[in-house]
């Protein structure tokens, strides 16, 4: 029984890794890496480049995605599907980063650019305090 369960657990862990990879592949299918500056070009009126590059870097690291593959309209629902296979590692890492920056927990956000805008306004609000 012990050996059978150990094999079952190994298969389950392998399945978790494979399904996470498939979810990631499905979400990023057909994308080519773009320079961060080029991605920023489409949203330069909404956030500063400093905040933009920080947010891109943090989300890329937290969700284990190349930031050059991340797009402003990417939703956290899609990222969350990948992240659920590691039980919310991405959102936990983002929470940790926000705490380090002295920002509270974010409200529910639809897209990555909405989150970047919220970070910028929160940083501005904390600077004026």
């Amino acid at each position: 029984m012990g050996l059978g369960l150990a094999i079952g657990l190994a298969v389950a862990i392998a399945a978790v890794v494979i399904f996470k990879a498939l979810a990631k592949r499905s979400a990023l299918q057909g994308r080519t890496p773009l320079r961060i500056e080029d991605i920023y070009g489409s949203v330069k009126d909404e956030v500063s480049f400093e905040v933009f590059s920080q947010v891109w870097s943090v989300i890329g690291k937290a969700y284990s995605i190349d930031p050059q593959l991340l797009r402003p309209t990417d939703t956290f629902l899609t990222l969350g599907k990948m992240d659920s296979w590691t039980l919310g590692k991405g959102e936990d890492d983002v929470e940790k980063w926000l705490k380090e920056r002295g920002i509270g927990l974010p409200p529910q956000q639809q897209t990555v650019i909405e989150f970047a805008r919220w970070v910028q306004s929160s940083l501005a609000a904390s600077a004026t305090r």
């Binding site: 029984m1 079952g8 978790v16 956290f76 990222l79 936990d92 983002v94 956000q109």
Partner: protein, 152 residues
């Protein structure tokens, strides 16, 4: 047995005879007769028959042979999944941003060191997955048992 003669033995209901013109059974007697009938059915299902085990015996035997009984390995659940809303280490905070995943790992929920590592998270997700798998398998066996227990 208290209901000794049973329904078909000539004792019980037919002894007094519902249609014999003797006395009509009272409500109490009728209720007792119903109870006896139900008891007889239950005992018949449990009692080994002369030609082999009863339906219940066959069901229990078959399901016991086929369910996955994890025994002491159930302790692995301590490394499995836990609802975020009951997580002590994170204050029960709900999923962040646009995530809809309500689960975290048990080690993270209780703030154990190293719970944030990818290995611990993937292991917990694996334990969760195998738990659900074994659960579904066992439920299937319990249901299938009703069919397999039917005598040939």
């Amino acid at each position: 047995m208290a209901f000794g003669g049973g329904i078909g033995s000539g004792g019980g209901l037919s002894a007094g005879g519902f249609g014999t013109g003797a006395t009509e059974p009272t409500e109490t007697q009728a209720a007792e007769a119903d109870e006896s009938y139900i008891d007889e059915i239950i005992v018949t299902a449990k009692r080994p028959r002369a030609d082999g085990p009863s339906y219940m015996d066959r069901y229990v035997d078959w399901t016991s042979d086929h369910v996955i009984n994890v025994g002491p390995y159930v302790a692995a659940l301590a490394g499995g999944l836990w609802p975020k809303s009951l997580s002590l280490a994170t204050g029960g905070r709900p999923p962040l941003l646009g995530s809809t995943n309500p689960l975290t790992s048990v080690p993270r929920a209780f703030g154990f060191p190293g719970a944030d590592t990818a290995i611990a998270r993937t292991g917990a997700a694996g334990i969760g997955l195998i738990t659900v798998g074994i659960g579904f398998y066992n439920v299937t066996i319990l249901l299938e048992g009703f069919l397999y227990a039917i005598p040939d």
